[in-house]
Each structure stands twice: as structure tokens, then as C-alpha cells.
Amino acid sequence: MQETKVEQKLAKPVSRKTGPSYLVVFIVLAVLTGLEIVVSQLPIPRAPILIPMAFIKVALVALFYMHLRTDRRLFAMIFVIGVLVGITLILTFAVLFSTQTGGV
């Protein structure tokens, strides 16, 4: 029965391993934030570094504090779909509006 497989998959946890403690995650978040502030002051192209760093922090919060890592796949799937549609919105809009400033 293919259909029950779909549901079983969604009901599975993403991971069963015990991960780092909340405190470790907090320290990583704090250190990353500190690094971000430092990077933001450097005379280098910052976006390619800062945006991935923000994503790492977002992923840490979602995976550990919001328990997506050990919770049902269903939750992760629904949330990730929402986030992906949102990122698509931001990127498409950025593209659409940048060509327009080019005078098209």
C-alpha cells in the first residue's frame, strides 16, 4: 500500500539521535552573531558571508529550539514549503524590480 507509506514517512522523526544541548546551540548562536558583527565591519563583500551565516542561525533555531530535528517530518515539510515559497517570492521580486530599475 503505497499511500500508507507516504503517511508513515511523514510521521517519522527527522532524526532520532540526541543532539547537542540547548546550551551548546545557544553558545554557537551567540558566537555566530558576534562573528556577523565583526564581518559587517570588514571592507569585503559582506552579503555572500552574512546571508549564509544568517541561514545557519535560522536553521539552528528551527532544528534545535523548535525541535524540527527530532520531531515529525510532517512539520518540517509544511514549514519548509512555506519558507521556500517565501524565499521564491523575495528572490523573484528582487529580480523583477532590479530589471525595472534598468529601465526596461
Partner: protein
Amino acid sequence: MANLTNTNLTSPASVDAASVEVEHTSMGVDNRKLGMWVFLASEALFFSALIATYVILHGRSTGGPTPRDVLSLPLVSINTFVLIASSMALVTGLSAAQRQDIRKAILWLAVTAGLGIVFLGGQVYEFSHLVTDKLLISTNLFGATFFTLTGTHGLHVLSGIIWLILVIVQLVQKRDLPHADFKIEMVGLYWHFVDLIWIIIFTLVYLLI
């Protein structure tokens, strides 16, 4: 019709210690938690639209002040640490509730709400300084998009604080509240989400100026 056994997944959500014991639901998860995640997915779109507005428009201001002129990184950095710490306080409270240590849980929830209030206070302080620096929502596109985005986020923090207070009052009222850890996990999902949005705002608005 006599066969009432659920052929679906009925295993209780043992995976996650914080969820309440789940009776026969098709996905074997609690309705409220599923609903919360669905809501957060929708909220992700809400903030995406606001962030897109900021990204597109804030640089098109025809006059000052610009972000560089008025934004104060030290103040906001402190605020960011405060919010991250509040998330940490909340999960510590959740752990306490899972160990049935309701007194500690209440304490940590209060710390979370307190840090939330500090964050909001910081934001009010920041806004009032911007106003004295002649940046209003009507001044230019930076002002318009900045106040809309961070203001909406601030309102979410405020809602989170109110929710936290409601949970704290419930816990104080009734120490043996059933599923206390579940209630904390639910407000936690919302709170961490608001924190998560701030991480993005912090990078896009304050670091990449």
C-alpha cells in the same frame, strides 16, 4: 463497521517528549501542534512579503537620512543578544517543565518574557532616537519600509509576551496543570519563530547597510 481499530498510525508521539499523548489521529500528532506549524508556514510568507518590500524599496529613497546615517549597530546588537538569550531561557523552561519542575519552568518563562520586554524597550528607545534624527515613516522609503518591517516584528514580540504571560498565569494558578510542557512548547514555537525572523532582519537591515 464493527472493526474500529485504527489502521492508521496511532502510535503516540513518543518521539518528542514534550508533546501530549496523542489519541487516534490520522497523522499521530497533536492537532494544535500541527495547526501551529501550518500557521508558522503562513507567517513565513507574511514576513517574506514584508522583507521583499524592504529589500526592493529601502535603497530607492530620494532623500536622507540613510540607514548608515541613523542606525546604531551597538544598540541593536545588544537587542539581538537579548532575543537569542530569551529563546535559550524558554527552552530551559521547557526542559524544566518536562522534568515536572514547574517552579523552575515559571521562573524561566518569566525570564523569557522579561527579556522580550527588554527587547521591546530597546526597540522603542531606538525608534524614539530615529524620530529625533528626523526619520519618520513618511520621511523616505527607508523610513517607510524600516518602520513597517521592524514594527510588525515588534508587534509579534508583543503578542508573544502576552501569550507567555497567559501561560505563566495558568501555571501559577494550577501547579499540576496537565500538559504544562505542551503549552510551553506551543508558545515556544511561536517565540522561536519570531526570534528566527529577527535573525534575518538583523542581517538584512542592520548588518548589510
